[in-house]
Structure formats: structure tokens, C-alpha cells
């Protein structure tokens, strides 16, 4: 990959949500969710052919609203979650839901791209991950390497652990954790740790990073001022949860704002970043 020029793929709308589809083992596949207030939003399925250094794409419609976060099931490559904004009657509500891709979406990939752009297929709703008691969902996390039955959603200052049943058509809250503190605290992002038997969760609120033990749903560590507060300061910091005093490594090479950052599969060497400003990644 190092020898090849970066591959650029243009999106119709602005986008903030990106995930790698880990359940897909045959292809290198990413899912991108778009943000548009006025049109039906889309989920772009992007296959990267690393032998030819080219991209294949498919588009699915996500009519529920603009997508702020996207997550792919680690067990079923057709299942994914989104957090989206629903606008109705001059009210904006953040929701989260589990979706299934239509079974025949892949057949469309061999047709001309124009075709798929014009007649995109629609996602099938499996269930909502909404609990009216727990505010706006910021992101949904799948249990890493799990069987696709457990997800966590972060909504305002709550972390909710859901069990998915009946082929993911039903979701029930199994436990919750709440972030207490001064002011209106709000989770902005999170990551389910694949280590320690998947019993740890890391969340971000404001400039702090917190770790949670999912068995007791209690906080286990906190890194205050882990990152620059307001304007993203072009840094990627690596932290070791065993020593939360100092970052392991800080990268400052990125000249653009980093909105979303994910470790790649190959030992975490590759980083993919979504450049919000320019709708490219």
C-alpha cells in the first residue's frame, strides 16, 4: 500500500461517520454514513481492492435522518447500527437503531454506478435502541469480536448495555452506567476494549477519557485533559490504560482536523481518517 497513491473517493454529501466492516473477511470494506438535512441520507459501502488499488462502491438509502455515527456488527456483515438525527416539527432528536442491509445489495454492485446512485436500495430496520429516559444517542458500540448480540449506546451522560434478541429485532437494556459531575456532562465518543475479555469500555466527554468496567458498570480510570479541548489540535495520542499519566505516543503529523480515528486491523499500524472538511477520506 505504501507504494500506491492514496485512493480518493468522493461523496455526494458531507459525512462524519465511518467504520470498517470487521465481519467481512474476504474484502477490505468500509461503511460511510452521510449527513444531509434536506435529502435522504446514504450509507456508502466501499470495497477497497488492494491488488488493483481501486474502489468499488455501493449505496444504500438511510431515510431516517443524517448519520452521526455508524457501527458494523462483528458477527453479521449485513447488520449495522447508526446514530442519526431525526428532524420533525422543528425538533431535532438523536436516535440510534440497528439495521440490516437488503440481501441482494451486492448484486447491484456489478451494474453501472449511475444505476445504483439513481435507484439505491433501502435499509431494513431491525430495532430502535432508544430509551426515552436516557436522552440523545451519540454513538453505538458493538462488542468487539462478539457474536453480534451485545451493543453499548452512549446517550447524553449514560452508557447503556443492550442485549439483542430475536435476530436483533428486539433490544433490551441489561445494565446502565451514568456519568455524574458538575454541569451538563455528555459522552461524545467511546470504544469497547477488545482486551480483558471485553469487559472494559473507554469513553470520551469533553477533554477527559474514562474507562469503565462493564461487569460492575463503574468507572475504573480517568484521564483528565487527555486532549486539546476545542479546536482539534492535529494530534493523535496513544494511551496505555495501565499508565494513564502520560500518553504513550503523540502524532502531530496530521495537518487536517481529525474527526474520527480508528486503529486498523493489522496490528494497529494503519490509520484511516475521515476528513470532514472536504468529504474525502
Amino acid at each position: 500500500m505504501e507504494d500506491d497513491a492514496p485512493v480518493i473517493y468522493g461523496l455526494e454529501f458531507q459525512a462524519r461517520a465511518l467504520t470498517a466492516q470487521t465481519a467481512e473477511t474476504d474484502a477490505i470494506r468500509f461503511l460511510v454514513g452521510t449527513q444531509s438535512l434536506k435529502f435522504d441520507n446514504q450509507i456508502h459501502i466501499i470495497d477497497f481492492d488492494d491488488e488493483n488499488n481501486i474502489i468499488n462502491k455501493n449505496v444504500l438509502l438511510h431515510q431516517a435522518g443524517e448519520i452521526w455515527h455508524i457501527g458494523a456488527s462483528p458477527a453479521d456483515k449485513a447488520v449495522l447500527t447508526t446514530c442519526y438525527n431525526k428532524t420533525s416539527d422543528s425538533r431535532v432528536v438523536s436516535c440510534a437503531a440497528v439495521w440490516r442491509m437488503p440481501s441482494d445489495w451486492e448484486t447491484g454492485s456489478h451494474e453501472s454506478p449511475d444505476d445504483t446512485a439513481h435507484n439505491p436500495q433501502i435499509l431494513e430496520l431491525l430495532c430502535h435502541l432508544d430509551d426515552s429516559a436516557h436522552g440523545n444517542a451519540a454513538c453505538v458500540l458493538w462488542e468487539p469480536m462478539g457474536d453480534g448480540k451485545r451493543v453499548i449506546s452512549l446517550a447524553d451522560n449514560h452508557a447503556l448495555l443492550w442485549d439483542l434478541q430475536e435476530s436483533s429485532t428486539q433490544a433490551t437494556v441489561s445494565s446502565t452506567a451514568t456519568l455524574e459531575g458538575k454541569g451538563q456532562l455528555k459522552f461524545t465518543s467511546g470504544k469497547w476494549s477488545p482486551h480483558h475479555n471485553c469487559s472494559q469500555l473507554a469513553t470520551a466527554n469533553d477533554t477527559a477519557i474514562r474507562g469503565w468496567d462493564l461487569r460492575t458498570m463503574s468507572q475504573i480510570y480517568c484521564i483528565e485533559n487527555a486532549h486539546g479541548q476545542l479546536v482539534h489540535d492535529c494530534k493523535v495520542k496513544f494511551w496505555d490504560v495501565r499508565n494513564v499519566q502520560e500518553p504513550v505516543k503523540t502524532l502531530e503529523e496530521h495537518s487536517h482536523w481529525l474527526v474520527n480515528c480508528k486503529g486498523g486491523r493489522g496490528g494497529g499500524v494503519h490509520l484511516l481518517h475521515l476528513d470532514l472538511q472536504n468529504n474525502h477520506f
Binding site: 476545542l230 495537518s255 472538511q277
Partner: protein, 829 residues
Amino acid sequence: MAILLTDCGPGRRRRVHGMLKLYYGLNEEGKAAEEPESLDPCDINGPHFDPELYLNKLRRECSLAELMDQETCMVKQIRSLDSDMQTLVYENYNKFISATDTIRKMKNDFKKMEDEMDCLSANMAAITEFSASISGTLQDQHTQITKLSGVHTLLRKLQFLFELPARLNKCLELQAYAQAVSSHRRARCVLQQYSHLPSFKGIQDDCHAIMDKLAQELRQKFRDGGSSAKDLSECVELLLQLDEPAEELCDKFLSHARSRLESDLQGLEAEIRPYPSASAVKDASARRLSSTTGAGSLTNNSPKTNTLPSPTSNTDILEFIDRGCNEFVSSLCLVITSYQELFINHAQTGELASKNIPQMANAKLHVFVDDLAARYFSLVERRIQEEKGVGDNSLLVRALDRFHRRLQAVAKLLPGSTVPNKGTEIVIRAATERVKQYLSALQSFYMDSLTDVRQALATPRLSVAGASVAGGGSLLGGPASGRDAPTSLPELLSSLSASILNQIKSVLASVHLFTAKDITFSNKPYFKGEFCSQGVRESLVVSFIKFVCQSSRQFCESAGDKGGSTPPALLLLLSRLCLDYETSTISYILTLTDEQFLVQHHSPVTPVTTLCAEAREAAQKLLNHYVKVQGLIISQMLRKSVETRDWVNTIEPRNVRAVMKRVVEDTTSIDVQVGLLYEEGVRKAHSSDSSKRTFSVYSSSRQQARYAASYTPSAPMDTNLLSNIHKLFSERIDIFSSVEFNKVSVMTGIIKISLKTFLECVRLRTFGRYGLQQIQVDCHYLQMYLWRFVSDENLVHFLLDEIVGSSAHRCLDPAPMEQSVIEVICERG
């Protein structure tokens, strides 16, 4: 006949001589004449003269009259030559006659003398005969006398021998040891020789017994040691003559001296405080410090003062060294002198020299001196190490000088000794240690000054007498000024800068004492070279400057993410301080150092340019950080204002939001603050009415084009993409780029960060119609006031344009407000 020589005069006689000589073939030098003209057969004076040729020539060449003249002249010459010859012959004859007379007279005299000599020889023979006969008659008597005399001597010797034991006993009684020993020595060989005769054997045994007793007494006396040096030396001398082993004596002498010297050392050791109870010392030293030095003195700030009690409350270092010199070193010198007198100088002359005693004794002395000196040095070093207070350096320097000076006496007495060199090494170590202490004192002074500045910044416009920078005090206990604390930034800066410079100067002056001319060790190569360049310049001055730069950089690293532990004003002030260091202060300090210490750089030293570069880097980093911190403070206000509002359900804007006014106010006060320390800087030419020009771009073509793109779902992608790519390359703004050292650049950086945050926050929200309009109003207001702060007003235009554009993009019902209405609202305030 004609003749050549025509003239006659005073030279004539000479010439006649010459001609005679020529005639005999001699020239003036007595050699055979070889002149070429003499070969001329016509030269009448030459040896090859041919009369025929000459006559023919004359006849051919001359007229008759001339011939006549020639003839006359020739005749005249012949006559004169003849008369000359007669005179000479006569003179010779006379001399010959007188010689004959003389010889005859001598013949007569010799005859007479011969007769007298014969008579003399006859007389001598008679005398010889008489003498022989007299000798013959006296021979017998002479032999007898000689024999008698021999017997007499022998008898006297025997008498001496027989009397010897008694005599020795008497000497012993009278303590006339020297006499006893010399008597015994005289008899010893004889007694040894005749010891096979019983009577002599008896005497020998007696003598031995007595001498053993004597030696015993001498040893006792030597051991007691109470006697004077002269007695002692006599004692040793006698013992040596008694064949007492010299090595043993040396050892005894030295061990005896050692016990005395060790008591001196113990006295010294007692001076070094054997660590009494810590609290008492703490109290004592605290009391002493507070009473003797100013409140800001560095000694107070050194944490070591409390943990390691300084024994100075007992005796100061000068007294200590004095005592060491007067007691230990002078006793040591005395010991060396008397030892050398006894075992080395004395032995060199006598028979002892042959036994290699001087060498042995000398080696022993060296070991002895080295050993004791090492102990002395370790005590001195312990004492020096306790000198922590950097208040008055002159005391230490004087003490070291005295210490060093007194060791020179040892050097003179004991030429090959390593002691003086070791002493010099101690002085060098002490000096190096001192330099280190001064460095840390300077560092803590600097940090304290910064704390004071911090306090002054935290309590502005108040007279803080105690906590002012001036109150930081001077190192050497100068009067802490009681004037009011300077509160404005430039005043704080200049007073900080001045107090640091003063401190450096006073430290330099203190350290300079080490190299003063009247200090004995100042002419050692170390103090002339390495101390100045590596010690003072590098380890002290350069290290301090580096420390200033490094500590400044630390403010940027620690405070950045951990929430502004460093006040922004301090960052700004330090940045200016570092910049001033870069432009002038560093080169001033280094020049001052080089001049004071006449540094000759034998080893490579840090060049001024390196330090300046470091200072500049620190200044840059601080200023960048200042921009970031201030930018984030304003960003925070903007972010909260965007995040906490429901932008969908908001009422139609009537006013500019209060937070925007606050942003403008804060920006203005930052502008004032920066303006106090930094120059204005350059900005691009303003348009004639910058505040009014707002959003003409937005409201016209560009924004419309963007909307158009969004409204047509099928084919907008390419144009949108293209315009975005174009934007990426043409108008990219580097938000956290380095700022220049001027006000405009600083303000530009802060405003860039603030507006960029505003933009990012807007992009995370969804707006209703009036939400968008409120943003329009707010942005117009910002435009009216912010353009004047930045270097390029287009930057503000561009970012505000982006904000409005983004909120329009995030708007459910994007119906922008009329420009005229916006202006009215903004002008109303």
C-alpha cells in the same frame, strides 16, 4: 752614457738602498724581484740591463743635447753611488773591530770562573763526610727514643682501656652520653681485636654492659619525647652511632610525631559539627540567616539549608582553616624539618650515608606525610562541603587561599611530595562545587522571581511590598527594596530582567574572587584557563541561560493540556524576556564574562549564536503557546455559546448576543496586553471601510453558487467537489502556525483559533431559520470589530464567511437575513 734617474731629493737615500737591494736580487720584501719591467734590457736598474742595447737606443732616439745631458746626469749618479759604497764599507769595518774586542774579554772571564767552581765542589765533599759521621753516632739513641715513645703510647692506651668502664659509668652518671659514646667508639675496635685475651675480654664485657645500659637510657629518653628537639636530635644521633637500626628509629620518631599530629587532627574534626539534633540546628541556622541576610537571600531558598545544618554557627571556614594551618600544618612542617635534620641531612655527611639511610628515611617520611595529609585533606574537604550558603564567597576564597598558601611550605620542605598538588586539587574541587552552587542559586532565584511575577500578576494594581520582584532581593544580601511592586507588564519585565542581570553580575563578582591576583592559586593553570572557560562561562553562565530557555519551554509543555496553570500574561512576558535575551542580553552577559575573566578559549565553548538560537526558539514557543492559550479561552466562550443553545427553535434575532460583545472585549484587552510588550507589526492595507464590507461576498455570488449546488441532487457532486478541492489548495489557513514577534501576528493567531472553533462548533449543530440569522448577526458584529486586530482582514472575512456558510448548510430553512437589517441590528449594539 745617459742615466734615467734625473731628479735628486730627500728620497734619494732610500732609492740608493733600493738600488743596492735590486743589485743583490732582493726586493723590499726580501724576495727575488719578479717585476716585468726588470726584464727590459734598457732599464738601467734592471738585472737584464744590456749596455749595448741601451746605448743604441739612446743614440737612436735622443738628440745630441739630450745625450749630453744624459751623460752629465749619469756621471753624477755614478759618483754619488761610489761615495755611498765607501761609507757602508767603513761602517762595517768599525763594527767588526768592536766584536773582536768583546770576544777576547769573555775568554778571560770564563777562565776565572772555572777555578771557583772547583773549590766549591771540594767543600761539598767535606760536608757530606761530616754529616755521615754524625748520623752514625746518633743512630742508637734515636732508636731507643722511638721505642720508648711507642711504649708510652701503648701504656696510655692500655690505661684508657682499663679506665674505660669507670669512665663510662661516670659519664652515665653525669648523663654525658655524647662523651661516653665517643669514648666507647674509640676503644671498641681494639677491644674487639684483643678479645681473646682474658683481661681485655673482661673490659669488653664491662663496656658492653654499660653501653647497653646507656642505650637503654637513651631509648627511654627518646620514647618519652618530653625533651626538646635539640635533645631529641642528639639522642637520635647517639643511638645511630651505637649501631641502633636507623629504620627502627625513623619509625619510632614518626610514630611519636604522629600521635601529636593526630591530636591536632582530632581537634579539627571536633570543629566539624558531629551532627547535633536537627531541630536545634534548624532553629539556630534559621535565626542566624534571618538576622544576617536579607529576606530574599538565596541562602533562604536553598532547601539544603534546612536538611544539612551548616556548622558556620560555630566557627566559620576561615577560622577552621586557620586552625588547621596553625596547628596541623605548622606541626607537620616542624616534624619534617627535624626529621630531615636528624635522618637525612645529618646522615648524608657521616658514615651513615653509605648505608642508604637517607633514601630509606626519605621514603618513610613521604609515606608518613602523605598519610597524614590525606587525613587532613579529607577533613578540610568535609568542612568545605558544608559551605552551602552562597552569601559571602570571599570568606571561602580567603580560607582556600590560606589553605593553599600554607601547603607551599610543605612543598618547599619536601620537594617531591604530592601533597601540594592534592591541595590544589581540593581547591579546584571546591571552586567547581562553588560554581555549581551558584548555578543552582541562580536557578532558584530565577524560579522565585517568576513566582513573584506570578503573584504580582494575580494581584494587579495592589501594592505588594513583600512579594514584588524587587523583593526577590539580591544574592549578596543587598537591601530588599520596600517600594511598591511594579504591576504593569513592561515594568514587571524590566524589573525581572534587571534583577536577573544584577544577580548574574553579583555571582560573577563572587566567582571572580577565585581568580584575584593576590590569591596564591589563581596563577595555577586551572584557574587561568579551564576555570574561566569551562567553569564560569560554560557551567555557570551558559548553563543558566540554557536553564532560562528550558524552563520557559516547560511552561508550554506542562500548562498546555492541564488547563492553564501558567497565566497567559506570564507566557507573554517570558516570551519577550527570551526575545530580549536573543537580541542583546545574552551577548552582553557573555561579553561581560569574557572580559572579566579574560577567557581564552582553549577548549571549544558554546558560541553566542547557539544560545541566541535557543532563546529565540524558546521565545517563539512561548508566544505560540500564548496564542494558543488565549485562543482557547475565547474559543471556550464561543463553544459554550453554540453548544448550549437550541438553534432550531430560536426567536428572530433582535440583538447581537452578549457573548460576542464579550469576545470583542476580551480580544481588545488581549490586544492591549500584547501591545505593552510587542511592537505593532505590519498589516496589509485596509480597505476604505472595512467594517462595512462584511459578507458582500457571502450574500452574493459565492454563497448562492453553493446553495445551488445543494439544491440539485443529481449532478452537484462534481462542481461541489471541484470547488472544495480548489478551496483546499487556495485558501487553506494554518490555524496553529507559528506567529511572528509582533502584536498583529499574535492577534491574528488568537482570532484564527477562536473563529475556527466557532466554525467547528457550528458544523455540529442544526439550525432553524432564525438560528442562521442570529449567526449572521453575530458574525457581522465580529467582523465590525475584529478586522482591526489582524494582519490581513481577508482572513477574518474568509472565516466568518465560512461560519455563516456552514450554518446555512446546516440550516433546515435557510432564509438569510437582509444585509441592511443586519447592519442596523449591529450598529444598535
